[in-house]
């Protein structure tokens, strides 16, 4: 199958030109084959997926003049989310959502007995606070730089939904160790939900899976924390990144647009 022409690479990534005197069409030595093994595999996959154009579009996007460190907050938030996801997956391999003591015992095992369990659990616990801080800083940066205006309103709306989902992750995850602090904090949180008029009692019953805090409450929070909200967050992050790449990055508000100077008109003298 004929290869389609690849989109142009940025200059920094073009292969270096052959030195004068080398024959680019000569016999291929095993050293050259070995040096190019990696790119050969990538080429094999890319010939079938045709995805390298899309990856270049995502990674090598243009940034405006005046770009600064504030613009890294969004990527930092996503990095914190990936940290939570990876440490969360490995914590889930040891955690047991059992309200009659198994949850607390599995957390104790992770903290005390498992190799690097204390480290992974701490990464997850502190990573949650880090993610909340970064997401608020990112939201503040977007707000104060006016980056929510046309055509980026949808990006902003998706970002607000991501904020709410992140807070919900914090709320549901807090219950999972099922110690005194988790238990009473979740009771207070669910009762706060119950103070909303008309739907409050049913909303808190829905969260608790019943009128009292029971075993199904812990299971429900675990399923929401592990499956429902991470799925939604991943989908919305994908949409958020697509929109950002498609619409481009705005310049900071102190960068003024430069007008093209009109060519000077000379009066014709009669």
């Amino acid at each position: 199958m004929p290869k389609l022409p690849a989109p142009p690479l940025p200059k920094a990534l073009l292969p270096p030109p052959k030195r004068p005197g080398q024959n680019g069409n000569g016999p291929v030595s095993p050293v050259e084959v070995g040096a190019e093994a990696g790119i050969t595999v990538v080429d094999w996959v890319d010939e079938r997926m045709q995805i390298s154009g899309g990856i270049r579009w995502l990674l090598f996007r243009k940034v405006p003049k005046g770009i600064n460190w504030f613009y890294t907050l969004g990527s930092a938030t996503m990095f914190a989310f990936l940290n939570q996801a990876v440490t969360g997956v490995f914590l889930a391999m040891y955690y047991r959502p059992d309200a009659s003591g198994g949850a607390y015992e599995s957390i104790r095992y992770i903290t005390d007995d498992a190799f690097l369990g204390q480290t992974v659990r701490a990464m997850h616990k502190w990573g949650a606070s880090v993610m909340i801080i970064l997401i608020f800083l990112h939201m503040a940066r977007t707000f104060f730089f006016g980056a929510y205006k046309y055509p980026r309103e949808l990006t902003w709306i998706i970002g607000v939904v991501l904020l709410i989902l992140t807070l919900a992750m914090g709320f549901t995850g807090y219950l999972l160790p099922f110690d005194q602090q988790s238990y009473w904090a979740s009771i207070v949180g669910i009762n706060i939900n119950g103070t909303g008029p008309f739907v409050g009692p049913y909303l808190s019953d829905f969260l608790r899976a019943g009128p009292e805090f029971g075993a199904t409450t812990l299971s429900r929070f675990y399923a929401i924390h592990m499956l429902l909200i991470p799925g939604l967050i991943v989908a919305l992050i994908g949409a958020h990144l697509y929109l950002i790449t498609k619409l481009g990055i705005t310049a900071p508000p102190w960068i003024k647009a430069v007008e093209e100077e009109a060519p000077e008109m000379h009066e014709t003298r009669v």
Binding site: I192, F198, A209, G210
Partner: protein, 207 residues
């Protein structure tokens, strides 16, 4: 529509598309609706609650409260237990009407602000909540702080000389009985309509 017969309202293509989408919708509902009902089901199934024996009639006095541990959720060990503050009814201070279920007063330990457990301080004859400073008096009425109604109570009865505790109920400031509500939901005046009763709370056991 171009190419249609006289009086034709829907083309064959549109009919086919519509029927296929409809069939796809039915198939999706086939796995979505049971799952949703599974998630929402607990709102509608009644939680069973039997009378629990907490002591004999000699264990309680009308001068102070005795704490007893009762089980409100079965099957999860300690996490399903809670504390009831119990005393004998004192007609000189308990002015609400007396019936077979309040010869012994059993107060719930959950603060009616947001649900933290209160403790009884005998020297001051007050219940104090550690979370946000709610204070209740000897009868469980609010004297200070953010709670919105008096402490919830449990039905009690005397059965063959044993004092037994039944389901929980909520009260407003006139100590009128309501089906149990969550903390933070006021029940005076319009409150009982703003925060309607739920379908899944325990009702009085028949025996």
């Amino acid at each position: 529509m171009p190419g249609s017969f006289e009086g034709e309202t829907v083309t064959r293509r549109r009919f086919m598309t519509g029927v296929t989408h409809g069939a796809g919708g039915v198939a999706a509902m086939a796995f979505t609706l049971p799952a949703l009902a599974f998630a929402v089901g607990p709102l509608f199934s009644r939680v069973p609650f039997n009378w629990q024996t907490v002591g004999t009639t000699a264990d309680f006095t009308d001068l102070t409260y005795v704490t007893k541990v009762i089980t409100v959720v079965q099957g999860i060990g300690n996490a399903g237990n809670t504390i009831a503050f119990m005393r004998k009814r004192n007609p000189s201070i308990d002015t609400e009407p007396e019936d077979q279920y309040n010869h012994y007063i059993a107060l719930s330990s959950r603060c009616m602000h947001l649900g933290c457990p209160v403790r009884y301080v005998a020297a001051a004859e007050r219940f104090i909540c550690p979370c946000h400073g709610g204070v209740y008096d000897f009868r469980g009425m609010v004297v200070s702080g953010p709670p919105v109604r008096p402490l919830d109570r449990f039905y009690t009865r005397v059965h063959q000389g044993l004092v037994q505790v039944g389901p929980r109920y909520s009260v407003n400031f006139e100590l009128h009985r309501f089906s149990p509500r969550d903390p933070g939901q006021p029940l005076n005046g319009i409150g009982q309509y703003l925060y309607p009763k739920r379908f899944d709370t325990s009702i009085l056991p028949k025996n």
